[in-house]
Symmetry: C2
Subunit: 173 residues, 2 copies
């Protein structure tokens, strides 16, 4: 059984949470959605609700096999929380899969884990990604070591397949 | 290459369209979303937009390998269109996979294809399903012949896996 941590706040991109979450559950794995508060309803950019399973301040990277960072405008808030950045760095240092899509690149920038990494994001933040040292590529999915990146919801099939494959290839936490 | 037809209208259940659609695309297959009008934006129950690929009155069952019927309240409108019911009956007579979830059972009722079939739906329409001759079961996914049925968005991983497996097992259209 694999355990995957997803981080959201209000205005998360609906499908960028839900498609990978359901896809990972289809594999028989457990996805925990953490948000600023426990068991509160967060509303997606288009309106889809998600009740949080955990509060971000209560989760520990060591309990999870991978990290999922959906986009939308939630990452603009999440990147301001030092605990979020600490979690990202812990997954990075442990070499565990980190999958970010669209505007979630902002969190990767603030966690300072993009230097010299091939990556992608929504074209809207490509300059931010490059200024943080990332090598930005206009492709549906870009993999560099433990990092998986995609641009938009249209890339979700390729993004999620890459994440499923990478998680399947690493040992249990 | 497999081709799958999905039928929607406004107030479709967002994830019940998008999760299977992206999941089938992940397999490398083509999903055509048909709605009353061509290239119009339809809005999900929770607000997620979908631009239609085709008008229902222009599609032919013979061009597709399977039929996907998402729920929400869209089926309340779709079941009134004789062309929708004709499409369902054509898929049924050809023995091609038909996957319906939640309130999409209404379309199956009006197409008169449920008699003596094991099936499921949202609990809200279980009486309608039984009155149409269906054998209603409270399970995440119920398969009877070419028909795949699920209850709610929580069942989407099992529903979609069953659909992928069934489509993979039939020959190209």
């Amino acid at each position: 059984m694999k355990h995957i941590l997803a981080l959201i706040d209000d205005v998360y991109e609906d499908l960028e949470l839900w498609y990978p979450k359901l896809r990972l559950e289809e594999e028989g794995w457990n996805v925990v959605v953490a948000a600023p508060a426990l068991e509160r309803t967060y509303t997606g950019k288009h309106g889809y609700p998600c009740v949080s399973d955990a509060a971000i301040h209560d989760v520990a990277a060591e309990d999870y096999d991978a990290l999922l960072l959906p986009g939308g405008f939630a990452p603009d808030k999440l990147r301001r929380d030092p605990k979020v950045l600490e979690l990202v760095r812990e997954f990075q240092e442990a070499g565990k899969p980190i999958a970010h899509i669209c505007h979630a690149g902002w969190i990767m920038i603030s966690a300072k884990v993009l230097k010299d990494k091939r990556t992608t994001s929504t074209v809207g933040i490509k300059d931010d990604m490059a200024n943080a040292g990332g090598i930005w590529m206009d492709e549906p999915v870009v993999i560099d070591g433990n990092q998986i990146a995609s641009r938009t919801p249209k890339d979700l099939p390729a993004f999620s397949k890459a994440l499923v494959d990478m998680i399947a290839s690493v040992s249990d936490a």
